[in-house]
């Protein structure tokens, strides 16, 4: 790729206001935190609030005993493939409402099949189930799910103004049934997906019908992921009793409850080992393939599978690195600085498109070559060396990704995504990632930090292993897979390696078609079709989330 076409150059010029190829610069002249608009805002608020609360608060002079942040350029960041620039602070999830909402929208979702309930109604209770009764039931549940009563007297209820983001919709692979469902309740596969993807999805779902339930964001914020299937199951059972005029408490109702809590439930996150001390529907339990299916980029721009993978990568960075590793697992705030490397400044985009072009030219397109040693070696080595050479040609790029783990993630992501695109096989893709890590370590003589490197030293050996304690098909891995339990900085790219294998082949989904359909929903607060743009809006404070409490707190 010619120098002038490097995708990252524009961002580098804005970040440093110097030639990206210049090796020398000046330090210690930037007046520390005063160079940053956001840090100045922090100081202003910190000073004001310290007076109000009477306890010392945010004070940048505490940094390094009086040497504040900003001895070098506190560089801005560009959300990749957008025109949005922001400060690093704006990409911490505490400061970014869109990031919070992405996670809340995932956590507050459960999918519950309706077929078991319908079977109980028809065969055991002798009730008639028709599209009309289903529509009626859905109307009742849309009243009940946000937190309203349906069969009991003198009940407390939730304020609709606090829970208006809570609702239920359904989808089915049966076009005739779908036609008879009230459109207000339907996720219409034909309307939301390109025709070829819709055909794949409908064939996978068949005549079954599934509910997609969104609990209120305020519940997702105040309770845990395990709450969701309980909340939904209670309201489903009560709504069934109401809609089908059932006896409250007879044995058959227990079967509704069992179906709604267990048998027909698909949670977004699997349960983790007890030592993690988390329930289901928490970030650590979301398999890579599920997160990829939650991302909806593949249905809006299927002609650009590289872009699709990059969008999924950004969600992986925020969910796994910023939320899970950076907060649940480690505490503190440092991981954001690290995790932004895969979705800012068009760096990974440049590496991925370089790999995609290489694959197209040499292997005739995406998903056309069978995985082989020759292919993995060729593509992973070429993209790895290309990426490393960019850091060496452009000192400003090296300075942008100033941590070795950032460079290792971005370079190996480029290699893994390219192998996935070529083969349509995510396990081959992850093997390319591990070759990249070993090449990187020997080329630069450095890689990441201890914990980063350890997992990549043994990754080659477990990439094709299927034994239960050490291997797993790659789509089903995630931070819940033993070797990835502290796989900081890897999972965003791993998300893209899964996505690229399938988007390269034109697949409508990667791992679970039900999850792909469940998030094809325009009424979600977060825009899962363009996560990077949405994170950018969050950074610019232009994103309106759900879960606001202004109705029940004093006005400012």
């Amino acid at each position: 790729m010619a120098t002038e076409k490097k995708m990252f150059l524009e961002a580098l010029r804005k970040k440093f206001k110097e030639s990206p190829e210049e090796k020398y610069t000046k330090f210690y002249i930037y007046e520390g935190w005063k160079q940053s608009k956001r840090k100045k805002e922090f100081v202003e608020w910190g000073t004001k609030l310290a007076k109000e609360r009477g306890i010392p608060f945010y004070n940048p002079e505490m940094h390094l005993g009086g040497i504040p942040l900003g001895q070098r350029v506190l560089m801005p960041y560009r959300l990749s493939q957008t025109d949005i620039y922001c400060e690093g602070d704006d990409l911490h999830f505490i400061n970014n409402a869109a990031m919070q909402q992405m996670w809340h929208d995932i956590r507050r979702t459960v999918i519950v099949g309706l077929d078991a309930a319908h079977m109980v109604l028809q065969k055991r209770l002798g009730k008639e189930v028709t599209p009309e009764t289903v529509n009626h039931y859905l109307e009742v549940l849309n009243h009940a799910l946000p937190g309203a009563a349906v069969i009991q007297e003198h009940m407390v209820e939730t304020h609709p103004g606090l829970v208006s983001d809570s609702y239920v919709k359904v989808f089915t692979g049966d076009d005739e049934l779908a036609d008879e469902i009230d459109k207000r309740f339907l996720i219409d596969i034909n309307k939301e997906f390109p025709a070829d993807q819709a055909a794949q999805l409908k064939a996978a779902v068949g005549k079954r019908i599934y509910q997609v339930l969104r609990m209120p964001t305020i519940v997702a914020m105040t309770c845990d992921g395990g709450t969701m299937s309980r909340w939904s199951a209670m309201q489903i059972s009560m709504s069934m009793v109401n809609a089908y005029k059932l006896m409250a408490g007879e044995a058959a109702i227990g079967e509704f409850a069992f179906a709604a809590k267990h048998a027909e439930v698909i949670e977004m996150g699997t349960l983790m080992p007890w030592r993690r001390a988390r329930g289901p529907n928490e970030p650590g339990g979301v398999p890579l393939g599920y997160l990829v299916d939650i991302c909806q980029a593949s249905r809006v721009k299927p002609e650009d599978p590289t872009w699709v993978a990059l969008e999924a990568i950004s969600m992986g960075a925020v969910l796994y690195d910023q939320f899970w590793f950076g907060s649940y697992m480690s505490g503190g705030v440092g991981f954001t600085q690290y995790a932004t490397c895969t979705y800012t400044d068009n760096v990974l985009d440049d590496f991925c498109y370089y790999g995609a072009d290489y694959v197209k030219k040499k292997y005739g397109g995406f998903g056309k070559a069978k995985p082989s040693w020759d292919l993995i070696k060729d593509i992973a080595t070429e993209v790895t060396l290309y990426g490393l050479e960019q850091y060496e040609r452009f000192p400003a790029l090296m300075e942008t990704h100033f941590g070795g783990s950032q460079r290792a993630a971005v370079v190996a992501a480029g290699a893994g995504v390219a192998v996935s695109l070529a083969t349509g096989n995510s396990t081959a893709g992850i093997n390319g990632w591990y070759l990249s890590q070993l090449l990187h370590k020997e080329e630069m003589g450095r890689l990441g930090f201890y914990g980063y490197d350890q997992q990549d030293q043994c990754g080659s050996a477990n990439s094709f292993s299927y034994r239960s304690d050490e291997g797993l098909p790659f789509n089903l891995r995630g931070v819940n897979y033993p070797n990835y339990a502290l796989n900081v900085g890897h999972q965003s790219a791993h998300t893209g390696i899964v996505q690229a294998a399938h988007s390269g082949r034109g697949d409508a989904w990667t791992t679970n078609p039900l999850i792909k359909i469940a998030f094809a929903d325009k009424d979600l607060k977060f825009d899962f079709t363009h996560p990077r743009l949405c994170f950018g809006k969050g950074a610019l404070r232009e994103f309106m989330p759900a879960g606001e409490r202004s109705l029940i707190i004093p006005s400012r």
Binding site: N431, L435, R446
Partner: protein
């Protein structure tokens, strides 16, 4: 059986040869500068020069150790014998043609020194050892060709700088400004110890090594120096290693002819 002769490192480029050289303990590192024992102690900041070593246990010979074949095989280091506490020295090596990269620094430590515990990160390499052993090792690490005063830093914390551009004097960034370039003497001078505590008197660590010399001495592959892709033996070595590990992980019986 032919006697085993360690190769230390693969590859046939200038960089690979430098790597082999630094890892080979039979190669004597060239001394380029002299730092007094007291100045080195001050730079590390663990004790005051002349102060006795603090100990964490009595001397081994007073402890009445249990019978143990490993203890008989391995001669304790002087620091271990004396019961010294474990202290550290930590280096940051710039990406711009420094003699050692972090992995080279770590592997070299393991091939050359006993009783050291070394970690590797992209931007720093901590080396821990019993205190009197550490001082001996540190002397060689700072006085010889593997240390460039401008592009290698002795930094206990806030190590940030290895990947940043160089300043107008060719110095690696250091947020704490522990070291400064003295324009009058042309030497690099430490004004703070490795953890950032100001020193009573500045300590010179000598003149920066010239760029053209660094390019000859470095163990870093770089596209603007010796590109990794041109060292075909190196590339193929890593690819083979990866293939063998992958196949062994899938089915150890697949691995033949190692």
């Amino acid at each position: 059986m032919v006697a085993y002769k360690p190769q230390y490192y693969p590859g046939n480029s200038k960089i690979a040869k430098n790597r082999k050289k630094y890892l080979d303990p039979s190669y004597k590192l060239k001394k380029l500068r002299t730092i007094s024992d007291d100045d080195l102690v001050k730079l590390m900041g663990h004790r005051v020069p002349g102060e006795a070593y603090k100990s964490v246990h009595p001397p081994l010979e007073e402890m009445g150790e249990p019978a143990c074949p490993i203890r008989e095989l391995v001669e304790p280091t002087p620091g271990a014998k004396a019961g010294d506490r474990i202290r550290y020295i930590q280096f940051t090596d710039s990406v711009y043609f420094t003699p050692l990269t972090p992995y080279m620094r770590a592997w070299m430590g393991h091939t050359r020194y006993r009783g050291v515990d070394i970690g590797v990160l992209s931007g720093r390499v901590p080396l821990e050892a019993r205190e009197r052993d550490l001082e001996k090792v540190a002397k060689e690490l700072v006085e010889t060709e593997i240390f460039d005063p401008a592009r290698c830093g002795i930094r206990g914390a806030t190590v940030h700088g290895h990947s940043l551009r160089l300043d107008e004097n060719g110095m690696m960034f250091d947020a704490l400004r522990r070291f400064v370039f003295d324009k009058k003497t042309g030497e690099v001078v430490y004004v703070k110890d490795q953890i950032g505590v100001p020193l009573d008197k500045p300590i010179s660590v000598g003149k920066p090594i010239k760029e053209e010399e660094l390019r000859e001495m470095t163990s870093e592959y770089r596209v603007d120096g010796v590109p990794f892709r041109e060292d075909k033996e190196m590339v193929e070595f890593v690819q083979r290693l990866h293939m063998l590990r992958t196949e062994a992980g899938f089915d150890p019986n697949k691995v033949k002819g190692i």
